[in-house]
């Protein structure tokens, strides 16, 4: 199965990557990677370790500058020109593989900090908690099931709860595109399925790109799958389709 390179795409895209390459000391972490995500789409990314999944997120979010290639957000902004904070404020939220919440702040404070707007130093100094913001936090807290722990330090949460809190913080940012790195890692089966449900809900309003190893989780997401290998796209299609692809079986699933 060969993949036509989407040089000129007719439909609008939230994320458009074309020919993106990054190398570290001669090692090609991304090798002419091309892929695009439509508005409201959920996409799962799988691939063996070292396939370039995390590097891909790094170049999208402005952490790493690609050597070559184009990355467009909403067909308009060239993401390679901005840094992490600017990309985040444009509407790209990112969840790390290990949960990274602010451990010494409470759940509430974590969420409050994530709410859209007020990123300047002065705005932060004069920040007031309005009823509107309170409502927004209430809404998020309902989705991530942490109501009883609202005023506890985030450091005291279980691993799965931290994952959820971090997802809640992404929602607070109100991003158009969510990049999510292995959300199900360390979750119980039940939590995993709940997370999948949550993502399906989110996909109605946001675009999601989910990196995951857990095949059950991906099956539950029920979305288009892209397989990365050695820094480029190996295959793309439905999970069933991809699973039957001989290349994919050789490099990833078969092992």
């Amino acid at each position: 199965m060969s993949l036509a390179k989407p040089k000129h795409i007719e439909q609008p895209t939230v994320l458009y990557m074309d020919g993106v390459s990054v190398s570290f000391d001669g090692f090609k972490a991304l090798n002419s990677l091309s892929l695009f995500i439509e508005p409201g789409e959920m996409r799962a990314i799988i691939g063996p370790n070292g396939a370039g999944k995390t590097t891909m997120m790094d170049v999208i979010t402005g952490k790493t500058r690609p050597d070559t290639g184009t990355i467009l957000f909403n067909d308009e902004f060239d993401l390679t020109r901005y840094d992490e904070a600017q990309v985040a404020n444009m509407g790209v939220g990112r969840k790390f593989q290990k949960p990274s919440v602010i451990e010494s702040l409470t759940v509430f404070e974590n969420l409050e900090m994530s709410l859209k707007g007020g990123r300047s130093v002065w705005a932060a100094l004069t920040h007031k908690l309005t009823a509107e913001k309170r409502d927004k936090i209430d809404e998020i807290i309902g989705m991530i099931d942490l109501k009883e722990r609202l005023h506890e330090e985030a450091g005291s949460l279980s691993h799965g709860q931290k994952q959820w809190l971090e997802i809640g913080m992404l929602l607070g940012q109100e991003p158009e595109l969510l990049l999510i790195d292995e959300p199900a890692a360390g979750m119980t089966d039940e939590e995993t399925m709940k997370t999948a449900e949550l993502f399906k809900q989110l996909a109605k309003k946001h675009s999601l790109m989910v990196v995951e190893h857990d095949m059950d989780f991906i099956e539950a997401l029920d979305c288009r799958v892209t397989v990365l290998n050695e820094g480029s796209v190996l295959a793309e299609g439905s999970l069933q389709n991809v699973k039957n692809n001989q290349h994919v079986i050789d490099v990833y699933l078969g092992r």
């Binding site: 985040a88 919440v101 451990e103 450091g155």
Partner: protein
């Protein structure tokens, strides 16, 4: 801050001005501010009103010593603001203290006028001694008190801004930042030692006569300086407290705990670091400016790297990340220093080092955390209880919570 609001529960919405709101949720800070207010009034009062020999008399020596401690305490608050809350371990904060001190010293030098040894109305003695014929441009304006006071804030502030902008924008953090702050203060030490710099070289600035027309040797002037130091410390504490209790303070904590998270939430980490670094440098400058007229001299020794390291020890001993702990730490360690350098001078540095090691090992939250630590140990049945477990877990997590490369654990020496 009436008695009425103080007794009400903390969780109730608080009426009253911003000051009331600031202090309501801060029992320790409230006690500290009240104690400092009382001290600022009582000590000068006892010095001036009661005659020598009365048991209520506070000697001018003691008052000046306490005044020095207050300046150190303000310096410690400044360091705690950046280290305790934002994880910026500055080992060069003595430089900002010294710059504020020099700005004040320059004003005091100009105040001497023609009463110097060489009786030159324009030039300070050391310039006459160096055969300089006119005042260097950077000494202009320092005959005006207001100008000197502006420079007390501006000199450390501008240096911190330029230095911080370069460092934070290049994302220099952790140990690397600590090392370059040491280099900064050492470079300034060497520069100020040079006679050509025009700051009195090795001898620095001294032989001050008066401030705003008041004789510095007078007890009343000393008392006023003591009072001013107390007020400056209170204001410095309140400003810092205001910053750390605002959302900005929570962003600072976020930067301390997980810099990458803060960035990906859309916060420009370097601006926050820069802001708090500049504020901290200015507070340090004010501390230096109040210190100089009380001790009567400022020389390049204040830039010595060891001074800056000592500040870190004050904060660590008092309790990092609580602000009032910094005040307690600064006073405790300096009292010990005064005592021990008198009793066994040559051992002091070893004791200071030992104190730091012991604090780091056994008092991670400093003296102010001692009570909570004791309670945990004795109240929780069966030794290390659940809560202490969660604390150590937190620390472990913090060590490895970054899969994105920027490790922030180095803030804690």
């Amino acid at each position: 801050m009436t008695q009425d609001t103080l007794t009400k529960g903390v969780s109730l919405p608080v009426r009253g001005g911003p000051l009331t709101r600031l202090l309501m949720a801060d029992a320790a800070g409230r006690r500290l501010v009240m104690a400092l207010m009382a001290l600022s009034v009582v000590v000068p009062f006892c010095n001036l009103v009661f005659p020598e020999g009365s048991i209520f008399h506070v000697s001018t020596y003691t008052m000046t010593l306490l005044g020095k401690y207050l300046c150190y305490a303000l310096l410690a608050v400044a360091v705690d603001l950046i280290w305790g809350y934002c994880g910026i371990l500055s080992l060069g904060h003595g430089a900002f203290f010294a710059l504020g001190g020099y700005a004040m010293g320059m004003y005091l030098m100009r105040q001497i006028g023609d009463r110097g040894v060489y009786a030159n109305p324009e030039l300070p003695d050391f310039m006459v001694f160096l055969n300089w014929t006119e005042l260097p441009w950077y000494w202009m304006g320092f005959d005006q008190f207001w100008f000197a006071m502006v420079m007390v804030l501006a000199a450390p502030g501008i240096l911190a801004f330029v230095f911080g902008a370069l460092a934070f924008r290049s994302r220099v953090t952790g140990v690397y930042l600590s090392i370059i702050t040491q280099a900064l203060t050492y470079a300034l030490l060497l520069a100020f030692f040079r006679n050509d710099m025009g700051f009195g070289g090795n001898n620095g600035l001294t032989d001050f006569k008066d401030i705003l027309g008041f004789d510095l040797q007078q007890d009343s002037t000393r008392a006023a300086l003591f009072f001013a130091s107390g007020i400056a410390l209170i204001l410095g504490y309140l400003i810092s407290r205001w910053i750390v209790t605002s959302k900005l303070g929570r962003v600072l904590v976020a930067i301390r705990d997980s810099e990458a998270r803060a960035r990906f939430l859309g916060y420009r980490v370097e601006w926050y670091q820069l802001f708090v670094f500049v504020v901290s440098a200015m507070l340090a400058g004010v501390a230096g400016a109040l210190y100089v007229p009380q001790v009567g001299i400022i020389n390049p020794g204040e830039f010595a790297p060891i001074n800056s390291i000592e500040i870190i020890i004050w904060v660590a001993v008092g309790g990092r990340g609580s602000l009032y702990g910094a005040v307690i730490g600064a006073v405790l360690v300096n009292y010990a220093k005064t005592y021990f350098t008198g009793a066994f001078a040559e051992l002091w540095l070893f004791m200071l080092g030992g104190l730091f090691v012991l604090t780091t090992l056994y008092l991670p939250k400093g003296v102010v955390g001692l009570w909570a630590q004791m309670k945990e140990k004795f109240v929780t049945p069966g030794g290390p209880g659940s809560s202490s477990d969660s604390i150590s877990q937190n620390q472990d997590k913090r060590q490895d919570d970054n899969d994105t490369g920027t490790n922030k654990a180095e803030g804690s020496v």
